[in-house]
Amino acid sequence: MQKDAPQNHGAPGEQRHSETTSLGHVHEWEALAVDLLAGKASAEERALAETHLESCAACRSTLEELQWAASLCSVISPEDPPFDLAPRVLEATQAALRSKSIPTHKVPWWRRYLDPVLRPSGLALAAAVLTVLLVGSLTVWAQLNARLQQTPVRLTTLAAQESQEGAAAGQTQQPSQSGATDRAVGGKGDITHSTEQVPESGIPSTTGAVLASTTAASALLRLGVPEPIWTLFSFNGSYGHRAASAFRDHTGLVPLPEDQWVGGPTFAALVYTRQATELVTYLVSEGFDMNTAAEPIDVLGNAVNLIVAGYESYPTLRLEGSLLRVEPRLSSEISPSEWSFIVFFTLLDKTQTT
C-alpha cells in the first residue's frame, strides 16, 4: 500500500518506505508528519503512522509538541501595514512608470537607466551628489560615496520627487550638435575646426603640449556594458575651463549646460563601443589624461540620468577612417549593443592645483 503514497511528501533524503509496511521514527517521515498534523495524509499513510505511534511514545510526544508549536504560531495575528505604505508605494510607482513609459518601445534605451534615479530617493541622492560635486572635489566625492553606501534607502515623499521631476522636465535644451562636425585624427596641427556649427560655450581656447597617459584605455575596456561611463579628464595637467576648451577643440563636442555640470565643464556623447578604446587612446595621445570613475559609478549613474533626461537625440562621437566625427542621432536609431554612453567631465576647483 506504500505505492499509493503521494510523492510530494518526500524531502530530499527522506525515507520513502516504498518496500516496507511499517514506518520508522518520525524524523524519518517529517513531511508526512506535517501532513498528518494538517489532516492531509491519506488513509493509508495515517494508518501507517498510527501503527508506529501506538508503539512509540517518543514519536507521539514529538508530534504533540509539533502540534503545540503550530497552534501557537496560528494565534499570532497578521498586523496591518503602516497607513502610509499605500500612498508611498503607489506614488513612487506611478512616478517611475510615467518616466519609464513602459507601454511603448519608443523609449530611448538609455532611459532604462533612469529607473534608479526616478525613485524619489534616487532623485534626492542625485541632487545631493550634484550639489556637493559642484562645490566639492574628488575627496569629497569619495567620502560622500562611502557615506551613501552606508545610508539605508528610505523613499521620500512624492512632493520631493515631483520637484525633481520638474527640474528634469525643464531640460528641453537639445545637446546635440546642429550638424555634423568633422575632426581630423592625427597630429595636433591636422585638426580642423568648423566652429560656425558649434554653439558658443564661452570657454577660452587654449593649447598645450602632449602628455600621454596609458591608464584610461584599459579602464574603459568594460564599455561593452551599456552603462554610463564617467571619465574625469584633464589636459596637460590642467583641469577646469582650460581642459574643457581643449576638449571641445579636439572633439567638436560642446559642453552641457552649466547647471548639468559635475564639478566642472561636462560633455556627454555616445561612442561606438568597439571604437571606445581607440577613441580614448586618441584623446590621450592628444594630451588628455582620462580616468574612469570606478567606485562611485552608481552614484554618478544617478547623476547622469538627470543630465540626459528629456533628450530625444544625442551627439555621437566616432572615428571614420582618420576623421573624428560628431553628429546627432535620434535615440531611436541607437542600438544599445553598439553604443556606449560616456560622460566626460573635468573639475573647476582643480584648475589651480596642478
Binding site: E30, V34, S61, W68, A69, D80, Q150
Partner: protein, 225 residues
Amino acid sequence: MNSADISDSDENLVARARQGDESALTALFRRYEKRAYNIALRMLGDPWDAADVTQEAFIKAFTSLDQFRGEAQFGTWLYRIVVNATHDHLRKRHLEPLDREELDRVTSAADAQAQARLVGAVQSPTDPSTDGLSPPILQALSELDERFRLAVVLCDLLGFDYAEAAQILDVREGTIKSRIFRARAELARRLKELGFGPSVPAKQERKNVSASGQDTGTAEKNYPS
C-alpha cells in the same frame, strides 16, 4: 480603485497595470499588501524595516510587470520578490551589525520581553488565548534559522498552503514540510526552555524529546525502539 477592481482577476489587473492604470495598481496593492508586509515583518522583526522592504518589493514588482510572464500566479511572483528583498535586507543587516547594536541600544531591548517588541509584537502584547505567549513565540521565532523561519512564517503564521510556499521559495513541497517540521520542533524546544509547554505533558517521553531537540534530523538514536 473602484468596487469592480476588487473582484477583478489578477490577470486583468496586471494587464491594466502594465498600461499604467493607477486603479489597477491600487487594487493589486490592496490585495497583497497585508501578507507581503507580514512576511517582511515576521522575518525582519522590525516594522520600519518591514515597511521599507515591502515598499521596495512592490515598486520593483510594479515597475517590472513586463517581466511577469504569467507562468506563476501574480501573488506567487510578488511574494517571491518580497522574500528576496527580505533576504537582501537580512544580509545587509548581517554585514552591518553596528546598526543592530544601535537599534538594541535605542530600544533598550535587553530582556526577552523588550526584544519581542522587535519582532513585531507591539500591537499584540498579550493574547489571552495563549496566556501571553506571543512575545516568547516571536522571540523564539526570531532565533530560528532563516530558512526554517521563512517556512513557518509562510505556512503557520500566514496560512499559505505548502504548495504555494514551495513555489514562492522555489523548492519542493516536501522540503517545505521538512523545514516546517524542524522549525516547529525547534520552536517547541526553545519555548520549553522558557518554561512553557504543551497543556498535556507527555512525562517520560518528553524528556527524550528534549534531549534530542537540538538536532531533530539525527535524533533517532535517542528513541529506543
